[in-house]
Amino acid sequence: MARLRSLARKARTLGGVGHHRRALVIEAAASMFSARVRLLVFPFSKIARTLGAFVPPSDPRVAGHAEGATADQVKLARDIGWAVRASAPFMPFRSVCLQQAMAAQVMLRRRGIATVMHFGAGRGDEKPIDAHAWLDAAGVKVTGYPIAPNLAEIGCFV
């Protein structure tokens, strides 16, 4: 019951945002669920093939990903980032950085907006390696920000 009540409250909270944003949140939740399922079912090596080309951060495609981005695309990238971050805490599972990045990437690609998915790692306090994924599109920081200072960026999918 508590969950139902909280869902009702969240639905009311969403009632306060515009139609466009509400639709984006619903799409973000569905995309996150789909990312979650893919991560549970497939090994990362298989998922990686769908994420793009794996290149070092120095690759020109990384710096140049936002070239020619229109004002509309910038706004969409911001809104999609907001929608994914806003719906992440509502998901019935822990929606970690990779799921968020994958969900936002799918939503952006659907709209023809190029993305860069960054992967980094560092020595963790609890685990030997802390890994993190974050996403940029149209020059916008979409998901996974801020990045912890102990992380080094290793590679990107473009």
């Binding site: 998922i47 560092g122 020595r123 080094a152 290793i154």
Partner: protein, 87 residues
């Protein structure tokens, strides 16, 4: 001959390096000496050359150095990060 293998990318974090492979879906953390070995095999090299360089840079007995490098390279081979062609 020792050479890098696969799509591993690496980044320095202090004295160490963090490595990632999309093909393998794996991360590796490599300490200072391992990081140096990884740099030394950016172009294919051999055990004697790698050990000679390490002995110039680190205070280490030749026998121990060779044994440690071999162990490290075997581990990296298991992870699909290096290929060792044994003559």
């Amino acid at each position: 001959m020792i050479e890098r293998r696969g799509d591993w990318l690496s980044a320095r974090v202090g004295d160490e390096i963090m490595m990632m492979s999309a093909e393998k879906g794996n991360y590796l953390g490599v300490n200072e000496v391992g990081a140096r070995i990884w740099e030394l095999i950016e172009t294919p090299s051999d055990l004697d050359t790698v050990c000679a360089t390490l002995q110039r840079e680190f205070v280490i007995e030749p026998d121990i150095c060779r044994a440690e490098v071999e162990i490290f390279l075997e581990q990296m081979e298991k992870h699909g990060a290096v290929a060792i062609t044994r003559a």
